[in-house]
Amino acid sequence: MQAAFIRLLTTALTLFGVAVVVFVVIRVAPGDPIAMMLPPGATDADIDRLRAAYGLDRSLAEQFFIWIGGVLQGDFGTSISLRQNVGRIVLGRLPATLELAFYALFLAVLLGGALAVIGTLRRRGTAEGAVDLWNGMTLSIPDFLWGLIFILCLGVLWPLFPISGRISPALNPDYATGFLLLESLLRFDFRVTGDLLAHMTLPALALALPLSAVIAQVLKQSLKEVMELDYVNLARARGFSEVAVLFREALRNAALPTLTLVGVQFTFLIGGTVIVEKLFSYEGLGNLAIDAVVNRDLPLIQGIVLLFAVLFIATNLIVDLAYAALNPRLRHG
């Protein structure tokens, strides 16, 4: 209990540090976003008025506390380029990115798990060698390049999947939430589901491949160790096949070390969405982030970066807590 409390406290501290860094980095930016917003004929008085409206005429410390006070109440300020509430814009884009990230995670676990199982069942054979080779290759190629390779091979040369956007414009479903994939499933609107998945598959695969290699490596390693343990041998002696032994006995115990790793690596995957979304013109947070930077939209950049940091930190926290809950050795009375 105490350990969990300390963990929460350090998380809060890290989050505060992140907020300070984001704020400071953005405020030292050269270039006046206000001057850029106004038409060339604007007078100095106009500029001052607008600057006051955005609170940019106060001292840095004052601005920081106004901003952080707002953030704590859920108010992230007003976007300069889109002239809308930052919180609303950012939360509007969040579901697209979350759906992409979780779909990618799903693919990575599926692919990595399958590779680990094959490598374990055929250990010391050519199949294990092939799995290792594939892992080495997928690991050394980053998501950006995978995305390009998929666009080229599965989007253009052999056009299996669409390569830009989140959904075909013709469909344009009128849904209550931004979680289009989830909502289309709940509404049994499978035409929309299929279209969404087709659009998401290539970017998700690009994000998933490096992670799947990590999962395959670590899971295979711990599976191989577990498969040599006495209790597994006992199951073998009782006549269970190698496959049954692996799935019924070994997998559950071997999965724990992989879990922590998946958590850490999942944060990298979320980070990767920024460029992969841009590559595939997918309308999520990452795409929005790049546009915000190009437009020098300070409040919007602040909101997005902070949200990404929160996602990162929350993922790590959840993994730590899940690990503690699943690992009996770490359970405190």
């Binding site: 350090t10 390049l145 590559l279 990452g286 930077v293 020098r296």
Partner: protein, 271 residues
């Protein structure tokens, strides 16, 4: 062994191409010729002699741009990778060796740093610093020092507990003297391996930044800029995208394989 030579060979070739770019490149990488736009590479029908890899949508020679693009990629790899290595290693060494509040401060800093998605952080910093080569280099160094600091810190801690460090202290070396003369030589192989891997990462990050038009000015040839152009022409002229992709792919692979090969070579027990 083979991969060390293969990957090292490609990197040397690339370095030579980058250094002697004005001598090797068949054309001016910036020269536009709208009569020669989207020429295919030499093995396809309709190719023009002298334009081996074809031309882009403004009629610029793809091969020449590729060669000049190698300059930007390698300059960033060496300078940004090197700066990140120095910054991270110094902080890691001090944290691991001194322990106490230095260690806690560096550890917290690493935690905060790692809470940002690196690519987003890079884009943010370049936006703040203004586009340009020096901004890209500074941004990468400022972000990626943690990769070195984390590992070097752990390695230094392990080394500091060894007997030879204790005996150096007993013989009367100053703490910083011990760190420099005894610990650093033992941590150096790890740093070199990390540096090779890091250089591969910097090449990708530079390509990403020039892809979103935040690196050097958009006229200068960069692989990322060429990829961005190729992405828009993908249905009309595939080679504009393929050429820089292959160059980027081989270079990234070479750096990571060189690092892995180096690791096996320097520390056979670990592999």
């Amino acid at each position: 062994m083979a991969r060390l030579w293969l990957s090292g060979g490609w990197l040397v070739l690339l370095a030579l191409a980058a250094i002697f770019a004005p001598l090797i490149a068949p054309h001016d990488p910036l020269a536009q010729d709208l009569f020669l736009e989207k020429l295919p590479p030499f093995w396809m029908e309709g190719a023009e002699p002298g334009y081996y890899l074809g031309t882009d949508s403004l009629g610029r020679d793809v091969l020449s741009r590729l060669i000049y693009g190698a300059r930007v990629a390698l300059i960033v790899a060496v300078l940004a990778g090197g700066s990140a290595a120095i910054l991270g290693s110094v902080l890691g060494l001090l944290a691991g060796y001194l322990g106490g509040w230095t260690d806690r401060a560096v550890g917290r800093l690493i935690d905060i740093w790692m809470s940002f998605p690196p690519v987003l952080f890079a884009i943010l910093l370049v936006a703040v610093l203004g586009t340009g080569l020096s901004s890209v280099i500074i941004a990468i160094a400022v972000i990626d020092w943690t990769r070195f600091a984390r590992v070097v810190r752990a390695e230094t801690m392990a080394q500091s507990r060894m007997d030879y460090v204790a005996s150096a202290t007993v013989v009367g070396r100053s703490p910083l003297g011990t760190l420099w003369h005894e610990v650093v030589p033992n941590v150096l192989p790890t740093i070199l391996v990390l540096l090779s891997l890091e250089m591969g990462i910097t090449v990708i990050v530079e390509a990403i930044l020039s892809f979103v038009n935040l690196s050097v000015s958009s006229d200068d040839p960069t692989w990322g800029g060429m990829i961005a152009e190729g992405r828009t022409q993908i249905h009309f002229a595939l080679w504009i995208l393929v050429a820089p992709m292959v160059a980027l792919f081989l270079t990234v692979l070479a750096f990571s394989q060189f690092g892995e090969g180096l690791k096996d070579r320097l520390d056979p027990a670990a592999s």
